[in-house]
Symmetry: C2
Subunit: 116 residues, 2 copies
């Protein structure tokens, strides 16, 4: 069993095209031999945003701190700590920090087939 604080995981800038002010931590992934799904931590700085994109896998998200918008083809939704977000496969989505503090959330995805 692994027990480890979020903060003790290495944090890296996310260089993906369309991302601004986004940092990521892999909380549970290949290192833990998590073969089904991976837990990541995202921190989006003030005025930052994740890419507006689409992919064939889902996101399961829990907002930890900060405030922002979850944008999709259905419109913009406010997000705040304690909000649960499910993005189905193939739905365009983007997360935007609209506050003065970092927007932090965990985001789980199916384990990529080349990860384990």
């Amino acid at each position: 069993m692994k027990v480890q604080s979020i903060e003790s995981h290495e944090q890296n800038n996310m260089d993906m095209e369309g991302a601004s002010q986004v940092k990521m931590r892999m909380l549970i992934g290949p290192q833990e031999k998590a073969s089904n799904f991976h837990m990541r931590h995202f921190e989006v700085g003030p005025e930052g945003h994740t890419p507006s994109h689409t992919h064939d896998y889902e996101h399961e998200i829990l907002v930890i701190s900060g405030s922002g918008l979850a944008k999709s083809e259905q419109g913009d939704r406010s997000i705040a700590p304690g909000d649960v977000v499910f993005v189905p496969p193939d739905e365009k989505h983007q997360f935007v920090n609209t506050g003065d503090e970092p927007l932090r959330f965990i985001c789980l995805i199916p384990a990529p087939s080349d990860s384990a």
Copy 2:
């Protein structure tokens, strides 16, 4: 896209043998047609605990509030808000509330094969 607070999800007592003072919310599951993995919310009351048990699937956990112990065959580990816990398949585990406040955490599992 679904955006919904933890608290707005129905909470039910967990009647599983060996569980004491445990309540569960299904945050992302069959209702969202989440076919790969499910996000659940657990609340363990003071002096309560989850069952001490083993199963062939993993847990991916984030502690939200409260304090307690994560017990496994490797010993007892303290858990606090912001702690990430990975329980590999087939490892015996139990979560015990050792504080005066509810111990709350999210716990993700692979989607049961009969759930979707």
